[in-house]
Structure formats: structure tokens, C-alpha cells
Symmetry: C4
Subunit: 125 residues, 4 copies
């Protein structure tokens, strides 16, 4: 399949709740993810920049998505150059050297049950 999508995507919403439901394992812990699909034949080298309300941006964070692979990248897992703070408004820009498609999700288990939300990220020319 050819390489589908574009090379820059934006997600203005970002917020990882510090809390999670009792006994939550990794799958049920509160988290946000950028789901990245690389349909093409070349590795995608991805850079994320995080924006905040009251401080300078953090990053770049880097990730690699193999050819014909998807990476559901959890913002919770980002550590280099610094972890993503909990309970803090942020936003993200995702840049790739080859076309990809990006979808944003949050699983929120602060309360006793889970809540979900998703949207396609905003594609930039």
C-alpha cells in the first residue's frame, strides 16, 4: 500500500488524570494516546512537541513506526526529555518524515468506571 496521510498533525486537547480506578492494570489506567498508522514501505521517524498553558514547549520526543505498522503511543510512556505531567493541560504536534495518519484517544478511569473519547487529529498540509 502507498504511504497515506500527511506529515504533521495537531491535538489541542491533552490531559492525563493522575488517578485511576481501584486495581487498574495498564489497560485500565487513565491514559492518553496518539494512534499512528504508517501504511507505507518506509519507517516513519516521528517527533512530538508538547505545549502547555504557562511554560515553554517540551520535546522533541521521538518514536519510530515501522513500515505497514501502527503504534498506539501513550503520552504516559514518554520520558525523554521529560515525563508528561499529570493533571496538567497540554497539547501536541506530531511530525513525521513520511505520511502517517493520527487519531487521539483518552481512557479516563478517575471515577469507578471508565470514560472514553476520541477524535481524528487535525491534519496540516
Amino acid at each position: 500500500m502507498d504511504a497515506i496521510g500527511t506529515t504533521r498533525w495537531v491535538i489541542p486537547e491533552g490531559y492525563i488524570p493522575a488517578g485511576s480506578m481501584a486495581g487498574a492494570d495498564r489497560t485500565l489506567r487513565s491514559h492518553e494516546a496518539a494512534c499512528i498508522l504508517n501504511t507505507g514501505d518506509s519507517e516513519a521517524h516521528v517527533q512530538l512537541t508538547l505545549f502547555f498553558a504557562d511554560r515553554d514547549p517540551a520535546g522533541p520526543y521521538t518514536a519510530t513506526v515501522g513500515p505497514r505498522r501502527t503504534l498506539h503511543l501513550r503520552f504516559n510512556d514518554l520520558t525523554d526529555p521529560e515525563p508528561v505531567p499529570f493533571d496538567t493541560d497540554y497539547a501536541s504536534v506530531i511530525e513525521s518524515d513520511v505520511p502517517v495518519v493520527v487519531q487521539h484517544t483518552r481512557l479516563d478511569s478517575r471515577a469507578a468506571e471508565i470514560a472514553l473519547m476520541t477524535t481524528m487529529a487535525y491534519p496540516v498540509g
Copy 2:
């Protein structure tokens, strides 16, 4: 009505939880769906390709959407060439021989209540 939409759509997010709430019937069982609308006068022959984190793509899966019909296709129901694994990150590309419009949904009933999310799929040229 004329045929509305485009012939290729992308959904980077994919994850079918293995678990469901107690006593869930088909409607309340955890599932993901590609809701496909074919407004035109010709049958839409649809092909789905699934992408994963660490293996080659699966498919093509095939489906047919009649003229002036909608098909809310559950990924859970796909079996040929192979079922979609539970608790596994995936992504999908949906291709049709005539224009269609595609929306993605998940109903998640892993916990005691249901959670929902939806987004329009990403339209390609």
C-alpha cells in the same frame, strides 16, 4: 441521491476489549464498528486491511454495502481470512470501489457500565 464521499478511509485506532459487562447481549458486548454509508445507486464492494504493532497486515476482508444502504460493520464479526484478535492494538484502511462515508465507533463494556467513543474516519483523496 448521488454517491457521496470518497473511496479510501483510515482509522488509526483499533482495540476490541476481550471483556464485557456481566450479562451483555450482542448490543452491549464490547465492540468496534466501521459505520459505512453508501448513498449511491451502485453496490459498494469494500475491502478492509488491518495493521498491527508487530506483525504484517491482515486482509483483505471484504464486505458489500447495497445501494442506498448503511452497513455498521463490526470488526468483531470479521473472520475471513482470520479473526481480529482481542486486547490488541490495530488500525484499519477501508477501500471501496464507489464513494462511501465511514465513521468509527467503540462500545466498551469492560467495566460495569458502558463507555462510547466515535470519530469520522480520515478521508483519503
Copy 3:
């Protein structure tokens, strides 16, 4: 403000659960809505056509959105030419004689709690 948006929108997902949580009033009863914004100076005359899995389309349903007004139109409230069946997959096309913007929502209270989902409808040229 000028008239923003476009004159045709598509929502492939449609499903109104028959059930609702105990004691639900109108606001908490399971429902789906097409939220329509008309920013312009002329009345918007809107037509909805509903598509199904296994029967011919229903409609047109009609609605009017005043100039500089929003209408959050519940599919549950449609009765003419026929009510929208519960527990049934459907899809919709919304057409207007002036530009509008359309967003889709479902509030689902089949279980003891509510679940929400939303997406911008798909704009057609």
C-alpha cells in the same frame, strides 16, 4: 456574521437505544442529535434523509433553523414521514439551502450511567 459551513453533511453512525436509565427525564433519555448551526442572516431550510441496513431510505424530514440560531435536532423527535426506529442501525444525510455546520452526538443511558460520544459530521463540497 456570514454564513459558515456547507450545504450537505453526512453521519454514517446512527443508533437510538430503546432503553434508558431508571427515572430518566428528557435530558437523560437515550438519544441522538444533529447539532446544526446557522450563522448567517437567512433561515436554513433543512432536509434529512435516513438510510438503513435492509430497507429503502426514509424521508425527507424537514426542519428550519433561524438566522443566527442553533438547532440541536433530536432524531428521537422526528415523526414525519415516520418515526426513527429504536435499536436499529441507521445513517443520515443532512441538506440545507444555506451553509450550516453539523455535529453529531449520542447520549446513551441504557446502563445505569450515561455514555456520550460526538463527532463533527462529514462535510460535502
Copy 4:
């Protein structure tokens, strides 16, 4: 980074439930937000106009988003020229003097648990 996005965005859905779960603090109180990202080097001066079902629009409301900053603006916090009424259908148009990207969210805690929904706002040329 250059200024990403566009200068006008539309959100047809708007509804802030008056009720919230017992003991909800600010983070868990029912609210809607416009998450605005300004990636550029200039301050973004933002104007919001709110539309209703049966009265003239309210606004403009104003906000500022610093260069390389994100503002997750709660509609609940708007007070000038008038507060946003609870339990009332509304819609919004967001205008900026520099390009921004806007995403809409609702956290709804009317019931005992939280529900979430999100979508990218509709970008206008």
C-alpha cells in the same frame, strides 16, 4: 514552530449540565471546553460568539493565548459580557487574529460517573 491552523473554528454542539457528581471539585465538575493551541510566535487574540436556539447571539467573549501556548478555555468560566447558561443548547464560533487549532470537549458528571466526548472543531478557510 510556525503558526499552524486557521483563524476561524465552529462547534455546533454546546450544553453544560447544571448538575455534577457529589463532591466534584473543579476537575470533575460538568464542563465544556474549547482547547486552543497557538504554535506560533505571536499572541493569539481570540473572540468567541455563542449562538442559541431562541435568542440572539452573545458575545464577543475574548481570550488571549500566548505564543507557543495552549489554553483549555472552559465555557463555564466565561462571564463577560454574560455567563453561559446551564442546561441550555448553544453553539460557538471561535475567531483568532493568528492561526490556531481548536478541539472541543465535554466532561459530564450529572450521573454518579463521568462521561467524556471530544471532536476537532470545524475549521473555516
